[in-house]
Structure formats: C-alpha cells, structure tokens
C-alpha cells in the first residue's frame, strides 16, 4: 500500500466507510498483536492492547493527518499502550512462567522439549533487555522495519536506534552463547 493509497483510505474512513477500516484492521491486526505479545509475554494482555490500538485508531483517525504511514501510527499506539501495561503491572523483567506459557507443544516430545528450552532461554534473554532495546530489536527482527521506520515508530533519532539494535544483539549474544555454538 503506497502513501497515496493510504491517504485515500483515510479519506474514505473519515467519510464513514467502515469497509476500509476493516481492511486496515485485517492487514495489521496480527502484526500489532505479535509485536505486543513479544513485549508483554501474555496473550490476553496482547489481545487487549491490540483491541485498544484499533479502537483508538477508529476514534482518532480524524486527527490523523497522514503525516506518517498508517502502520507507523498503529505501532506508535501499540508501543505506548504496552509501556503503560508494563508500568501498571510493575514488570521490569521477563516472567519465566509467562514465557513458558507461550511455548507451543508439537509432535516429537524430546525435540519439542529441547526446542522449547531453547526458545524459553531466548525469550527470557529478550525479556530482560534494557528498556527500549527490546522494542527496537523486535521491530527489526519481527517485521523487518528499516532503522528509519523504527526511529519514526519509537520517535527517536536514527543513531539511537542503531545503537539500541546493536546493544540488544550484544546483550542477547552474551546470554545465549551456548546456543549459537560458542
């Protein structure tokens, strides 16, 4: 979807065209959900945040002047809501039980157990990243956003984003060296 297409869509939604609003929801809902899930490590909380993101988008799109992409705007709302959630729940680091709950089971028990343990370690390491590092890394690895797009979402300058992604990887590496064959 180009910026011009998005501009047209916003006009149509402003005109009360719910069909276009639903198009936006369907396009971005799982992306926003997975972003929130990797921050909050709780499915119910992530669903609630996702619901609130689109609710606010629907209520506030008249104020949205198209100065950034719709996706950027949605991720900005999601990021702020996740931050509020974590603050409210006074969560500063990952909860190992919540991380374990996210791991799915599969067919081969032993393989699944090993993979799950590995996944648990990585998610735990990710959950213990410094404030702000995790969001930057998740936006980069989960959605493949460019540094410029990440800087727009996080409202930080480009160099700050570069540093955050770099340091996030370094911190994770130091915790999971044994998993990367070190």
């Amino acid at each position: 979807m180009t910026h011009e297409d998005e501009h047209e869509i916003i006009k149509k939604i402003s005109g009360g065209n719910e069909e276009y609003f639903e198009k936006i929801v369907n396009q971005y809902k799982n992306k926003i959900y997975n972003f929130s899930l990797n921050i909050l490590y709780n499915k119910e909380d992530a669903q609630e945040v996702t619901l609130e993101v689109f609710y606010r988008f629907h209520k506030g799109f008249k104020k949205f002047k198209g100065e950034c992409k719709i996706s950027t705007y949605l991720y900005q709302i999601a990021k702020n809501l996740c931050k509020d959630f974590l603050k409210k729940k006074k969560i500063k680091t990952a909860n190992i039980e919540e991380v374990a709950n996210l791991i799915r089971t599969g067919d081969d028990p032993e393989q699944i157990y090993l993979k799950n343990e590995e996944k648990k370690e990585i998610l735990f390491a990710l959950g213990n990243l410094k404030n702000g590092y995790r969001e930057a890394l998740i936006l980069r690895e989960l959605e493949g956003f460019s540094y410029k797009e990440i800087s727009e979402i996080l409202k930080q300058n480009l160099n700050t984003v570069k540093t955050k992604v770099k340091r996030a990887r370094e911190q994770i590496l130091s915790q999971i060296r044994h998993l990367t064959g070190e």
Binding site: Q47, F54, L81, L142, S146, Y147, L173, T180
Partner: protein
C-alpha cells in the same frame, strides 16, 4: 581505512544493510578472520532471535469484539472520559484538604477586630437653663480625624 574496532562497531548496521560503507566493510571481512568470526556470531544471534520470537494469530472473534467495542458507549479502562471525572474528584478532595489545613490560620488573620480606639472623645454638654442636660457623645477615632471635625459633626446632628 577503518580498524577492527571500528568495523566491529558497524557490523550490526552492515548486517541490516543500513551502512553507507558496505564495500569497505565487505573488503575488510574478506581479509580479517577475527572480524569475520564476529560477524558470523552476530548473524547467528540475529537469526536465532528472529526464529524464536513468538508468533501467534488472533482469535476469529477479534473483529466482532472490536466492532462491538466501537459501537458501545465508552467503558474502556484506558478511557479519557472516565479519567476526567476521576481527575476532577481528586482535585476537589485536594482542595477540601487544603482548605481544612489553611482555614484556621486564615480565619485568625482576617478575624474582625474592632476599630482602634486610640482616642475617645467624650463631649459633654450642659445647657445653662437645664441643669440635668448632659449629653455624652462618644465618638470613635475611626470616624473622625481630629477635634474640629468632631465638633462640626456634632453641630450638624444637633442643629446648633
């Protein structure tokens, strides 16, 4: 020509294709085993993180829940409409508490004090043909500034 520390600092950007110096870094990696090892380590970390991020799908009922929420009156816990009355309530409580704390000192400061009676001018009049005539005219010094004004005031009231 950048040294190894400088190159290592740029490897994360290089991995993401976000550096301006791609040919320079590429050339350095071809000739430096240590930096190449560091780059491979970084690449593996990034891939490991990417592979293990949680990926899930929202339930089918999500859209329905969303439309229901949009159509309902505002009950969101994030709602500004709930926030404003709560804020107003908090402000009122704070004002009442401040009022109680400062009421007594303010009351004492602005309590009514009778006018100063620095001078009390007492005027007695006796009429020569009426022995018992005696008039006491008490005047507070707040009403008059000096004796002349006092006499004029009395004269007006008694039509001398």
């Amino acid at each position: 020509m950048k040294n190894c520390n400088e190159i290592k600092n740029l490897l994360s950007e290089y991995l993401d294709g976000e550096t301006d110096n791609t040919p320079g870094i590429q050339k350095h990696l071809e000739s430096c085993a240590d930096c190449r090892k560091e780059f491979e380590r970084l690449k593996k970390t990034a891939r490991t993180v990417k592979d293990h991020l949680v990926k899930d799908k929202l339930p089918e009922s999500f859209n329905q829940r969303l439309m229901k929420k949009i159509q309902e009156p505002c009950t969101s816990r994030f709602s500004f409409k709930i926030f404003i009355p709560r804020l107003a309530y908090t402000v009122v409580v704070i004002l009442i508490l401040l009022g109680i704390v400062f009421y007594v000192p303010i009351k004492e400061k602005f309590a009514f004090k009778p006018a100063k009676q620095i001078e009390q001018t007492v005027v007695y009049f006796t009429q020569s043909d009426h022995q018992e005539a005696e008039k006491i005219f008490l005047v507070s010094s707040n009403d008059v500034e000096d004796e002349e004004v006092l006499i004029n005031l009395f004269a007006e009231n008694n039509e001398f």
